[in-house]
Structure formats: C-alpha cells, structure tokens
Symmetry: C2
C-alpha cells in the first residue's frame, strides 16, 4: 500500500450544508480556487440535484478550477454528490463532466435504522439499488465513489456484501462514513481493517473515511481509519458541517505532518495556505472559529510568528510543536500607511495571494486610501477585509446610498436609510428601534419589503485597536417558505442567507451585512437586479 | 480497578490561563458553584502564587464551595496548583486549607527539552526536588497530586523513577500531562499502560490524564488514557486553555455517557447542567464557542429540544446520537411577556438555576420590565443575559450615567459620554472617532485617562430577531506594564482584562463592556472605588 493520503475536501458540499453556511456561487468558486492552491486532491463541489443554483455553481467550478492551467498542470478532481437515483446522477454528471478529472459520488444508507425509517427498503432492495446506480454512474464516468451512509452503525457483514457489489458494478473509491459521529477510534479503525480484509475485490479500490465530530473524536477516528488502510480522508476547512461538523482538514493534515516519523504518511497539501483558506471560509460562511480551535484558532500558537532570535526559538519548542509559519500564520503588523502608493498596495495584495484586475485594484485602492485617512495602522487583516468586502459580495439589488443614526441611553434610537433600488431610483426611510441596528434594519425593511427573520448577528474587530474595521456577519431566514433540498435527510430545509460587511462604523457595517443577505435572498426569490449587471453574473444567479 | 472516572476541572486554572480569559473573583466563585452543581469531583481553583488576587479567589472558593451544605453534603475537592517550591506550596495551602477536602497539586518538568532549556536541571536534581517538595506538600495535606510536566515527551524509564519517588514521598494522585498536545491516542494509551505496569507502588494511587488539543486529539487521548487505567481526567469547560486548549469536559463526559456499553465507565456529572455552565464560562471569559463545537456548539444538535411527536423522534435517531435535553439544551421560546408579574419572573429565574436575593430580584425585574417594553418576546437567553449583565460585573469604579451617539455614512461619528467617577462626581466628554464605538471609547478614555490597547471586540445577538439584546465582549491590555506570573513558563505575561455588557443598543452595550474591562484594570492597578462598595467586595478585590 502506498503512503500517500488523498485529501477529499467537502467544505462546499457537507460543510455548506450546515445551518447558515450558504455561500454565493462567486464565493464557492473563490473557495474552490483556494482549495486548489492548498493542494487538495478532490473537491466535492456540491449536490447538483439540490437546485439549479447548486448545479450551476458546481459546473462553474468544474470549468474554471477543474481544468489544467499553467500554474496547475494537474487540476484537482471535481466531484458531485448524487443520491442513488438516475435523476441525481444525471444532474451531477451535467455539473462535473467538463472537468478534466470528474468524479460522481453516490450513496445509500446501510444501517438498520436508516433503511427502516428513512429509506423504507430491506437489505435486498438496498443491494439491488446500489449495484444498479453505481453501474449507471460508471457508464458516465471513469471515476465513481460509493458511500454506504451511516456505515458506523451498519452490520459489518452486510457492509462487505454491499461494498463488493459496488466494486463489481464499477466503484473506484469506497467511502466509509461515520455519519452520526458515533464511533470511537478503536471501533472505527477496526471497522476499516475488517472492510479491507473481508471485502472481495477491494484491493483495486481506494478506501476513504468520512467522520463527524459529535463526540469530539472525528480527527482521531479519521487517523485510525487511515492507519487501518484508508488512503482518502474526507474533511472540511475549520471542520464545518452539520451538527458538530466534519473532520477538520487542518487537524488531520497537521497531525500527519507533525508526527510524520510515527505515521510515515504524506499528503499533497501546501500547509502554508491553511490559515488563509480558513479565514476565507469563516468569512464567507459566517461560521466563526473559536480562539482555542486546534491549528487555526486565534490562540492556537503560543508565540506570534516572526520571532527568530535563537534563544526564543529554543524556548518556543518547549511549548510549541509546530511553527506558526508552517500553517501560514503571518504576524499582523504595519505593512502600509497613509503615504503608501498604488504600487506598494498592489505588491502587498499579490503577496497575500490576491490577483486583482486593474479596475478592481482601482476600487480597492480607493477603499484603502479612505481607510488610511481614518486609521493610522493598516495591517494585512485590514487589506483582506477590504478585498473581501469589495469583491465577494452578492449581486446588489439594493445598494446603500447613505444613512445616519442617532442613539444612546436617552431611548428612541433612530435610523435614516437611503437605498438605491433595482430601478435606479433612491428611496429613503426612517425608523425607530430598540437599538441603532434594529432601527437601521427596520428602515431597510420599510424600503425592501421582504419579510425575514434575523437568526444570527455578530460583529468582530478585524484588527487590534479601537479604530479597527468592524466586520459584521448576519444570517437571515426567508419568511415566505423558501426551501432547499437536503441530500441525506430527503427533506426540504428552510433556506437561510448569510451576509457580511466591513466598515470602521459598525452600524454602517451592520447595514451592509444585512443588505448583502437581503440581496442574496432577493436574487434567490427571483427579484432581478438593474441593467448594470454583467452577463456572467446573470448566468450564475439563475433563479431556482 | 473501579469503573468510576473522577472529573478534575481546571477551567479556573489552566483555562483561565488562556489569553484574555481573566475572570474576576466574583466570576470565579460563580463558576466554582456551577461546577459543584455539575458534579465535578475536583475543582482546580487557581494558582495561588500568581498574585494575592489569585490566592484570595481560591481561598473564597475553598470557603464557600469547598464546604458541606444542605444541598451538597459531600463538597468537591478544592485544589491549588504550586510549582515545586516551598513558597508556592505554602501559598497554595494557605488558599485551600479551609476546604473540607483540600488538595495540593505540584509539578516539575521531566522532558529533556524542558529540563535543559527551562529548568536548567539534570535528572538527579529533578528527582531530588520532586521527592523533597511532594514530601513537604504531604506534610501539610493528606491529598497531594504530582504532575511530571511534558510527560508526553519524557523518557518513560525516567518517568517510572520520578513517579515512584513521588509515591514514596506521599503523592496520592499521579497526573500524566501531554503538555504540548503532541501524542496520538495509541501512544498516550500505551504510555499510561506502561506507567501503570512499571511504576512501583502505583497501585495505591489514582492515575490521572491531562491532555491538550494542539492536534485535535485531546478527547481521544484522554479516553485512551482512561481505558489504559487512568481514573481521573483533567478537563475544562468548552475546552478552553492555552493555545488550542485543554480536553473538553463535555466531550469526555458525553463520549463515556453515550457509548457506555462500550466503555463501562461512569462519572459523577449531572449532564443536564452542561449547557448552562458552558454558556456561563463563555460569557465570563469572552471566549466564544464555535457553532460546530461538539456537544455545546449552537449547531451541535440536529433538532431543537422539545419535539416529542413519535414519528419525529424516530427520525431524530437517524441523525442524532444524543438527546439535546440530556445536556440541558432548552428550546429558546417565549416564556415571559410584557404583562408577566414579579412572581412569574422569579419562578422562571429559579427554574433556570438563579437564586437571587429580594434586592437583586428587584433590580433584575426592573431591567426585565424595561426590556419587555422594547421587545415583544422575552426568552430564557434574554433572562440569562439580564442576570449576567446585572450581577456579574466587576466593582464599578466608573459608571455610565448617560450617552448619546450620532453616526452614519456622512463621516464624523460623534459620541458624548457622561460617567460617574469614584468620587461620585459626573464628568462628560465628547469625541469623534472612525465609528460610533471608537468615538465612544475615545470619550470614555478622555474621562478615565488610563492607557490601554483594545485586543478584541465582538458582539453577538443573544436571541433571534432584529430587536435582540446585543451582548458585547471586549478584551484590553494595560499599556503601563502590568504583568501576571505564568506558572509553567515562569515568565510574566502582559495582563489582559475582559469585559462584557448587554443592551438592545449595541453602542450602549459596547460602552458597558469597555467600562467593565476598564474597571477591572483600574481595580487591579489599585484605583479604589467609592464608598458604596460592600465589605465583602473589598475583600475580594485586594490590590496586588
């Protein structure tokens, strides 16, 4: 058996399925690009049968990230998920087929509880369906992955039979999910070892592991599975995903990396990109990373990067088993100031990994100069916030034209908001609320007139200092019954929309974040933007 | 070997050591009470040699939580940490001796890298010091715990010798720390098994495990250690602690609980208190819990509590291995409204576990009525925010008397703040900032005149809905060189102070949070409050 572990990232599929993690197609594409730079082997880009939006997002990733380029001669495999039905497999194939290396991933549950209560199928019916659908997928694609859902709670003897039939039908990767995060490392390692030993024909396939963190054991279970013979690990950035989430990419990769003499296993990951992708995913999904999160938490390293004195280094090793630089933690320091020119600005953005067009650079530079007027110290984090806020916003149906707010302890917080609508006309509304944000949102609602519920609202300062840029993330739920199909539970979930905004004024940032979420919701419900929208954006934002 | 695993909670010691987690003595006491209700066996209440403040906090916990009461006939063991020196052990004993069941915990590093670079001691010197200091601790206390620091990277043969000498000198609990979170479950389990097998005299001691989560393996390592013979697990609430933090109490306890047939091990934890203690610790330390955190994250459960239809329950089990009610997740619903009376309010607070005096109840009820005027739906989370904001604040040196703010896209955000100072007089200042929070903090600074740096600023909505209470957490660092002794690194760390505030107006909440942090800093630097402070508070807040 080789010692190369394939990293299968499902941030865009299982990760995006977590409540409120909805990303726009533009954001998904950006995450896929970042995952490719990170060196991920397989990107599970979505569940194309969920909606035309989801299909289109996967198709764009296949076309733009799944093809060879000068910097990436061997692009990542682009994978689409499908339930075990022709309809789903057709949709998934439609989405991924233009990638240089497409993969179809189909699944069917094999645990007694899932077969009885969800599928309402018996063992014979499950075996028959798996054989039929894996064969159908294989008739379209050379690369087919099959997962027996809830394998962790399935009868192992039944698993060997289902998996052997999937192999006979043409599956090339067999993924063993602990769907509900129920197993211990000993159990899960033993299950993988037993599957490798007892499944006829498995020698020609890649065995994969897919764990969930309900008991805090996902990373340990994944590593136990790899040690027992799995050579693909299914993971997400920051461990996002439903409930307690999936296995964290960064934890598995850095455990294998840091303890390489013990494991003798390698991955294709460029670890120095880990922190940047982590921040991007946190920003786009609005799912915060706690300070004490392993590898990517703000406190994860005892010492800041950039300390190179010999004495200090020795001291570092007494409490630090990884160097911050290894995962791309850069010391947040003064890089640019009020007098920095366009060239220095462009160079720093390139160093940070952003390749902007000249027109985009002009817009970003104007934002930078504006910020430099207000704030003495401009850090990398500020630059990243500017770029994110400026370019990764949804299509604007309504734009913020101006606002003013008065609040304090005297009661009656009041906001006046002027928005430019899809018709190009401006409308102004004033509202009183329980606080300045509430007043602002009420004024926006008075203009936009789209009923929704605010599920989450959070603000954090991007950088140190009280003159910091504030970054606001909100998550709203449509009140008019919009739903999205969930692949596994086979139920429609209420759709939620996240938005983010950055400004030195957190009330203005709050307004931007809310408008960003409301605009996503309007696009999803079919409200069309004005004339200025680009053709490609119309393509992306097809109404479902 | 019995099958009872002792839960040793070090939230107040190793957890409080994480950046910015500083709690006031009043908050520490409240957390200790909550840990006792949770059923923790041992509370490590602090490192008394760090400062007189720390000693006093441990002493109060020993006196108020470490003694038998009608509801708790067998109180938890109260433990104080001490380096292997007479000075530290004396301080620790001074702090814990009045508990019904006091414990002294001393440690010395045993890994080559720590002995060489930190201790500058050889093996012989380490053995001698351990024997001497454990014997000294045992001369004071019947219950003595010893930890060979960085055991995970120590030579096992050397460990057996050190541990055997500690046992001979009187140690009753031997704790094996993986100080830097370096080991894998297989390695750590094997280490514990080897220690149990090869250490003379260990049969009469309790073996303990203490893991860190740098590679995301703390929970798995802890469980591996327990299965290999450890019967004490050192953990923190929410897994807080330095770097990636300590093992999470909730993950270890719920893994043992959920998979009890596999492990056949029990703990004394009342799991239904887990969520409340988690929220309390997050609120006091300002360390957020990510939504995808196992057990206590906001998304950890697939379904909300309180759904009892039969069909739904069966469906729940397909994706849920624990019931939300088991860990105390209550459905956040309308419990009280505008017309609710004082009795209903008091009853609900009691149900939530708060026992307020009549005077406190009056204050809280006034806050509740005020909120009910602004907000239609008052949930349990709102009630908890009111109680936290009203009663768990540091002594107020400066209090907010009034404020007004104007901001928006027109530039020039302006705040006017009126504070009442320690002399009882009010002072008013106005300031312009980059945003309303910056302007407010500049105005406060103009009055308080205490230089500091804002390290962190975050806001989140307590409940759903745009009229929600906003809860703000800030962390500041004193600019005048205040430091606090770190037990392990033997270096002074810059002191940081956290503050929180809640209000429907997030700018007012921001002002409250900042004032709360500034007041903590002023108390620590020796600025005394006004005359109205209670005698017990003066006792708690002794100047260091």
């Amino acid at each position: 058996m080789d010692n190369y572990v394939r990293i299968f990232d499902t941030t865009l599929r299982d990760g995006e399925q977590s409540p409120g993690a909805t990303m726009t197609s533009a954001e998904k594409l950006e995450v896929a690009r970042a995952l490719a730079r990170l060196g991920v082997d397989i990107i599970e880009a979505g569940f194309p049968a969920a909606s035309p939006d989801d299909l289109e997002a996967v198709r764009r990733i296949a076309l733009e990230v799944g093809v060879p380029s000068s910097t990436r001669p061997k692009p990542p495999v682009i994978c689409g998920l499908a339930r075990a039905s022709k309809h789903d497999i057709d949709k998934a194939w439609e989405a991924v087929q233009q990638a240089a290396r497409p993969r179809l991933h189909t699944f069917l549950a094999t645990s007694e509880i899932h077969m009885r209560y969800k599928l309402k199928m018996d063992r014979e019916q499950v075996i028959e369906r798996v054989a039929e659908m894996v064969a159908y997928a294989r008739s379209l694609s050379e690369d087919v992955e099959f997962s027996p859902e809830d394998a962790g709670r399935s009868d192992p003897d039944f698993l060997y039979v289902v998996l052997a039939d999937a192999i006979k039908a043409g599956a090339t990767t067999l993924n063993i999910p602990d769907t509900v995060g129920y197993t211990t490392p000993d159990e899960f390692g033993a299950l993988i070892a037993a599957i490798v030993k007892n499944t006829p024909g498995i020698g020609n396939c890649i065995v994969s592991v897919h764990c969930h963190d309900d008991l805090g054991l996902a990373t340990a279970n994944t590593i136990a599975g790899i040690r027992a013979g799995a050579r693909q690990a299914e993971v997400t950035i920051n461990g996002i995903g439903e409930r307690a989430g999936n296995t964290s990419l960064e934890e598995v990769v850095m455990a294998l990396h840091t303890r390489r003499p013990v494991f003798n296993l390698t991955t294709g990951i460029d670890t120095t990109h880990i922190m940047r992708v982590s921040k991007m995913v946190s920003s786009y999904t609005g799912i915060v990373v706690q300070p004490n999160k392993a590898i990517v938490g703000a406190n994860a390293f005892a010492h800041e990067a950039g300390i190179h004195q010999d004495g200090m280094l020795k001291h570092n090793q007494t409490y630090e088993i990884m160097r911050p630089e290894t995962v791309g933690v850069t010391h947040s320091r003064l890089v640019l100031g009020k007098h920095s020119g366009r060239h220095a600005f462009k160079t720093r953005l390139q160093e940070l990994g952003y390749a902007l067009s000249e027109a985009e650079l002009d817009k970003a530079f104007a934002r930078f100069k504006d910020l430099a007027d207000k704030k003495k110290v401009i850090t990398d984090a500020d630059l990243e916030a500017i770029v994110t806020d400026e370019f990764y916003q949804p299509r604007e149906v309504f734009t913020l034209d101006g606002m003013q707010v008065a609040c304090g302890t005297m009661g009656m917080p009041t906001a006046t908001v002027r928005l430019r609508g899809p018709d190009g006309a401006t409308r102004t509304a004033a509202a009183v609320g329980t606080g300045p944000v509430d007043a602002t949102y009420k004024a926006i609602d008075a203009i936009v007139q789209t009923p929704n519920t605010l599920l989450e609202f959070s603000v954090h300062a991007v950088t140190e200092g009280i003159d910091a840029l504030g970054e606001v993330t909100v998550r709203i739920q449509s009140n008019d019954g919009q739903h999205k199909l969930d692949a596994q539970k086979e139920v429609d979930q209420p759709r939620t929309f996240g938005g983010h905004g950055a400004d030195t004024d957190i009330i203005v940032a709050s307004a931007k974040a809310y408008l960003s979420a409301v605009n996503k919701m309007l696009v999803a419900t079919g409200v069309r933007g004005g004339e200025e929208e680009s053709a490609s954006e119309v393509g992306v934002m097809l109404v479902c």
